[in-house]
Amino acid sequence: MDTNAETLDPSLCARIASEPGGENIWRCFGCGTCTASCPVREITARYNPRRIIHMARLGLHQVLSADFVWLCSTCYTCQERCPQDVRITDLMHAIKNVAVAEGFMPPSFRQQIALLAAHGRLYDITMLENERRNEQGLPEITESPADIARILGAAGLESPGASEAKGEA
């Protein structure tokens, strides 16, 4: 980990704290209940919520640029147990929102946004899907993606891959 003081980003924590969900980051007193409760931490040392919070407060920019914050499975166990009400799952969402705003978005999320823009949903409804649904006596579904693409655009999520995703299926 790069802890050179010259590379620290002094406004990082304030940027995270001003994002909805990130407000309580200063309340953390480092007890580690989050890390001890985390099912992902049990599998891999790469994801460690207490460490991420500490790094963010120090201003370590890797919090935004590295991929570990994306390993939060959003199970909310830490959020339910945190004695300081840091609202850790919401905080991780806030950190990821800041990371995206500063240009760091994992490719899998780009793909998902392209799918949403093209189909209004994560899985497109092809004729085959509706045939399978018919066989089971389930009603057909028609996609209505146009305004969802507009929503993504209005929120600033441009989706250059939308047309490609349409061809995938």
């Binding site: 992902v40 599998i43 909310y76 929503i151 209005a154 999520l157």
Partner: protein, 295 residues
């Protein structure tokens, strides 16, 4: 009792058995499910990248239900959590709701007033029908079945999004619903484990370690099947089960049932009516049961 059925992205494509069983059970119990074709994604996938987009997508769905004047029930726990949380956030902050509505009018010609309530379909069974009435409606003897309840994360947490209808640390509602069918809900280690679905796209190997752990513990407990309430948990525990077995050189062959499938069988629906032939890991015990009509 009339509700808009929110299918979400995953269930209507990957879990037709769940949808079929839910519709069948609802019809048996006098719950009218209304389809709104224009429902889209709940917003969950974009929560991580852009909170405003997630709120807009949730508000769009809420507004569509509000137009029809009905409350929503969802099959997917993540849809339930995302819609319920967005609803709470928007209703608590009139300025934010107005800001979202300004955009929503432009993008979708819709506006949300804050009058819709969202609950998970299984929570609805628990609260509106209740284990007692369900028990009295059972027509098929399932007393030999030993089942492991999996609540999953977004069914209960964050607690306030779900009005704390059950204790997130030590839940009992699904156990009660399972026992209402006559089957036994057995204790096992790792009940609280996350399915890992949330990180499948980010890191597949790490993600699959989570269901591997869960499946191993449930298998150790001697359960006949794992009972779930979310199509994403199903992807991890059932659709990925063969792959997990291969990847980690192990064997589980553990059937995974959606709660409405179990309930449907107990109420006398046929194996086909609850979509059992679509389950990847076959439950011989359940498939072999006579339907209520024949019993």
């Amino acid at each position: 009792m009339r509700y808009a059925l929110f299918l979400g992205c995953t269930a209507p494509v990957r879990a037709l058995n769940y949808e079929k069983a839910a519709r069948g059970v609802a019809s048996r119990l006098g719950i009218e499910l209304h389809d709104i074709n224009d429902f889209g994604c709940c917003g969950f996938p974009v929560k991580s990248v852009n909170r405003e987009a997630a709120l807009l997508m949730a508000a769009r769905n809420l507004a569509l239900a509000e137009e029809q004047g009905i409350d929503v029930c969802a099959l997917c726990s993540s849809c339930t959590g995302t819609l319920a949380e967005a609803n709470r956030t928007l209703c608590a902050d009139p300025a934010l709701l107005e800001r979202i509505n300004v955009l929503l009018r432009k993008t979708s010609g819709l506006e949300y007033q804050g009058h819709v309530r969202i609950r998970h379909f299984v929570r609805l069974l628990y609260e509106e029908i209740g284990p007692g009435r369900l028990r009295r409606s059972v027509r098929v003897d399932l007393s030999g079945l030993r089942l492991a309840a999996h609540y999953g994360c977004h069914y209960l947490k964050p607690g306030e999004a779900h009005d704390h209808f059950d204790d997130p640390e030590n839940p009992t509602s699904l156990d009660q619903l399972i026992e209402a069918t006559g089957a036994q809900s057995i204790p096992y280690e790792g009940r609280e484990l996350c399915c890992g679905g949330g990180i499948l796209a980010a890191d597949e190997h790490t993600a699959l370690e989570l269901p591997r752990l869960k499946l191993a513990r449930v298998a150790e407990s001697g359960a006949d099947a794992l009972v779930i309430v979310c199509p994403f948990c199903d992807i991890m525990y059932e659709l990925q089960q063969r792959r997990i077995e291969k990847l980690f050189d192990t064997r589980f062959n553990l059937p995974v049932l959606f709660y409405p499938q179990l309930l449907g069988v107990a109420l006398g629906l046929s194996a086909d009516e609850v979509g059992l032939p679509l389950n990847r890991v076959k439950s011989r015990t359940l498939m072999g049961l006579p339907s209520g009509g024949e019993a």
